[in-house]
Symmetry: C2
Subunit: 209 residues, 2 copies
């Protein structure tokens, strides 16, 4: 399948393009050129055309793209044309921050539950959510039809809670722990290392010197 | 300057390669091939060679790369051959989580101060740090020779604290707020949208279906 070979950097840019198109829709724009998208998000127009070409012919030469049509295609490609239910394991500072993060819901990711083992965290409220004990993991995954599990537990607990989530039916894991996780082939895994963001900055600071 | 054209995706991969090389050093490996790096981090070996070629000739044909040498080069390229001092503005859940995030210090980013305006946060401790009032921003930036400012305040406050940091001498901004920030040309800015990580997952879930 062709779609398997889409570079992750392209997927990230599609996400950024879709935000820009959403902004244009809000401003009442009907059509947009690759050059305009490029300037709007800070990449080259050749890059925009190349990224969109992975998914077939979208635009009309000399006219550009219909904003709402392209936005709809991108949201569909990104799997954002419907909601995804999310569970967070670990109600520490990062897990709590993610549970309250507005940006998730805006893009269709609905945090349905947050679990922890710590007695002093269980029962505390985070917005609409109440932290629940880890024991209810399987029950909540099934009850809420959870697709995505977010791991923010300490490294030594990460594989165990991941296994439990997968056992219960979770199909995608977003791992914030520093532990390298093993998942079956039919489960999607993404590791987030927040320091990469700082490293892109330090690279650029060195280049500017 | 050639270095200005390095794609950000390449910089991110260099960061990932460097972690893998560090792991190999820990395992006592002396040399490594591009194929081995590729398998270790999950990209093609052509991609590894292309990424490294941006920075000149590293390896020896048929032998590969010297692990410690390549690691040293990458850390230098990434600006990680010395420490960077960091200030966090906003001691909410995300700011607090970042202040305690072990991964930053491991890569040479030292959080020296965290500031907030909220009376109930000022004075609370986060590991070695104590939350201080926003008033001391300029003083702390100068005193601690801060290079990087992390913005985790609400959208409506983000530009103001960014301006204050730049005024005080900060040269790089990592923005977690949803606000689009304006910075001068000599300041490096990076916006972090945590939901992009979930979108890469949803893209892959849709492809796997």
């Amino acid at each position: 399948m062709k779609a398997f070979k889409i570079p992750e950097a392209t997927v990230q840019r599609l996400s950024i393009y879709s935000r820009y198109l959403h902004q244009l829709m809000g401003e009442g724009e009907d059509t947009v050129s690759s050059g305009q998208i490029a300037r709007g998000v800070g990449v080259s127009s050749a890059q925009v055309r190349k990224d969109l070409a992975y998914f077939g012919e979208f635009g009309t030469r000399g006219v550009g793209y219909k904003v709402d049509e392209l936005y709809g295609y991108l949201m569909e490609i990104l799997g954002l044309d419907h909601e995804w239910n999310v569970i967070i394991i670990g109600a520490g500072k990062l897990g709590s921050a993610l549970a309250l993060y507005q940006g998730f819901r805006e893009r269709g990711f609905v945090v349905k539950a947050i679990l922890d083992v710590a007695e002093n965290k269980i029962g505390s409220t985070l917005g609409q959510l109440r932290v629940e004990p880890l024991d209810v993991l399987e029950k909540r995954v099934k009850e809420y039809d959870i697709h995505v599990g977010v791991v923010t537990v300490p490294a030594q607990e990460a594989q165990k809670v991941t296994d439990q989530m997968i056992q219960a039916g979770v199909k995608a894991i977003l791992n914030f722990s520093p532990r390298v996780l093993k998942v079956p082939h039919d489960v999607v895994l993404r590791n987030v290392d927040l320091s990469v963001n700082l490293e892109v900055l330090s690279f650029n600071m060195v280049q500017y010197k």
